[in-house]
Symmetry: C2
Subunit: 289 residues, 2 copies
């Protein structure tokens, strides 16, 4: 009996040890599944890794199967208005981003930089997203250009989102696609926007139905991230934000008319008013400045 | 006597009225001078208005009398790295901004957009400011290109500021102009930067002597504003900030490796490591991706 009792104790200890071991294995399996489940909470991450794999193996997606984001280029457009949103949508899988202009002749952007569009207006008759950058003299010129306005109306008919940055909303308004709608624009260009038929909004970017319009130049980055979240999800937008290290730390705080020196604001508003008045009085496509 | 006294009173009243009138005129003149003096506190504003006047009257400054800000373009550069700083320095009077590349043949930027540089490397032998944008495959390629590296060393000899955005600091390091110096770069590219001889700094932009290097892509805007303040003054930088409406309001908070989801950060770091390893192993100027 004594031996038997001793064996029983050993058996009990063995049983406890086995139970603990089994519990540990079960806990381990549960832990791994939990981790897998967490990873599955981010389906976008899997897409990102798949796209990376495709890139490294040269298995690039068929452009014909991708949705199209079309960026309008025109003489005098502001490069940052186009390339800010383009950086913000760069992590979207299943989309191709193309630039579109009247011709494939060299275009002189506002900075003087020469660019050539990927496609002519005729070559792109449908796009899921349209992005119209702003500018100044060239933008007023484009807002009088029936070929550009007519193309915008065509694309807008079937677009999921029609968007603009800065004074690009002038062109959308001139094309009559945002008549009576709330729209952002450069702070100094609100009067001209309203003259063209839209209602000015002082938001960083304004969503009115499928129309998303950003405020001045740099606001296109914020708008682009919001657009990416709408087209895919927040994870895709956050990936783009990390990719472009968009953790802004402006060394000054003069980025809006409310924050800037009122004298500076008035000087710049007067300049803008002069520029608009001058450009409005010119015949379309005759001026270059 | 009575009359005489009355006249005296009238004379006194007249005298007081005249004194008040003269005092009012003096006060008015002093007030106007005070206002003029306030305006003179912002000599930059006067310059801004003079530049506007020149623009509206077609009296543009002689490019030969302007200082030069040279922006290096190369196959695969990231457009926002170049156009962010270019927008930030756009309010500088007395400077011309030119793009420079090996040839005037079309260059395909990272976004696929075709651009043509204003000048070849041979045409620009001196610049007050050099701006080197980043990228990925094309940037590693440029960091092996002796023609580009040699040109950077030449420009750097007499530049007031030599700057970069994102992985552009890889090229400066490869050119041996920032050996042992503190430099920012894209958060995922710090190891490669240190391999090339610079010391990584995790600041939004880093000033080490005349070298100003920005972190990833969007940091070029912050760096450009700081550069504008150094080249002119805070007023010029604040004018640029208001012009580009740089009052950032990112819709997400994922713009730095510290703020982003660690899993996303690790995925992107792994991708970048793969890309760098792949590009490093390629012979120079043979790959296009």
């Amino acid at each position: 009996m004594h031996m038997s009792k001793k064996l029983d104790r050993t058996q009990i200890i063995t049983l406890i040890a086995c139970t603990l071991a089994i519990a540990a294995v079960i806990a381990g399996v549960l832990f791994i599944n939990q981790k897998k489940s967490e990873a599955n909470n981010h389906p976008y991450y899997a897409e990102l890794e798949a796209a990376h794999h495709d890139m490294m193996t040269g298995t690039m997606p068929d452009p014909a199967k991708q949705k199209t984001i079309a960026v309008l280029l025109y003489e005098g457009f502001t490069p940052m208005d186009a390339f800010g949103p383009m950086a913000s949508v760069s992590t979207l899988n299943g989309y191709r981003v193309v630039t579109v202009a009247k011709t494939k002749d060299p275009i002189k952007a506002e900075t003087g930089t020469i660019m050539i569009a990927d496609h002519t207006l005729d070559e792109i008759s449908q796009a899921d997203v349209l992005i119209v950058p702003g500018g100044l003299f060239g933008t007023i010129d484009a807002s009088k250009d029936e070929q550009i306005l007519s193309w915008i109306r065509t694309i807008d008919k079937t677009s999921t989102y029609t968007t603009s940055v800065c004074t690009g909303s002038w062109i959308l308004a001139a094309a009559d696609v945002i008549d009576g709608k709330l729209a952002s624009t450069h702070w100094s260009g609100k009067e001209y926007l309203e003259k063209l038929g839209a209602k000015y909004s002082d938001r960083r970017y304004t969503v009115d139905g499928k129309y998303i319009t950003a405020a001045g130049i740099s606001a296109g980055i914020d708008m682009g991230l919001a657009l990416t979240a709408k087209l895919k999800d927040a994870d895709a937008a956050k990936a783009a934000q990390l990719m472009m290290e968009y953790d802004p730390q402006p060394p000054f705080d003069s980025g809006s008319p409310d924050k800037a020196d009122p004298k500076l604001r008035d000087i710049m508003q007067n300049m803008q008013d002069d520029h608009i008045k001058w450009a409005e009085d010119q015949p379309a496509h005759q001026h270059e400045m």
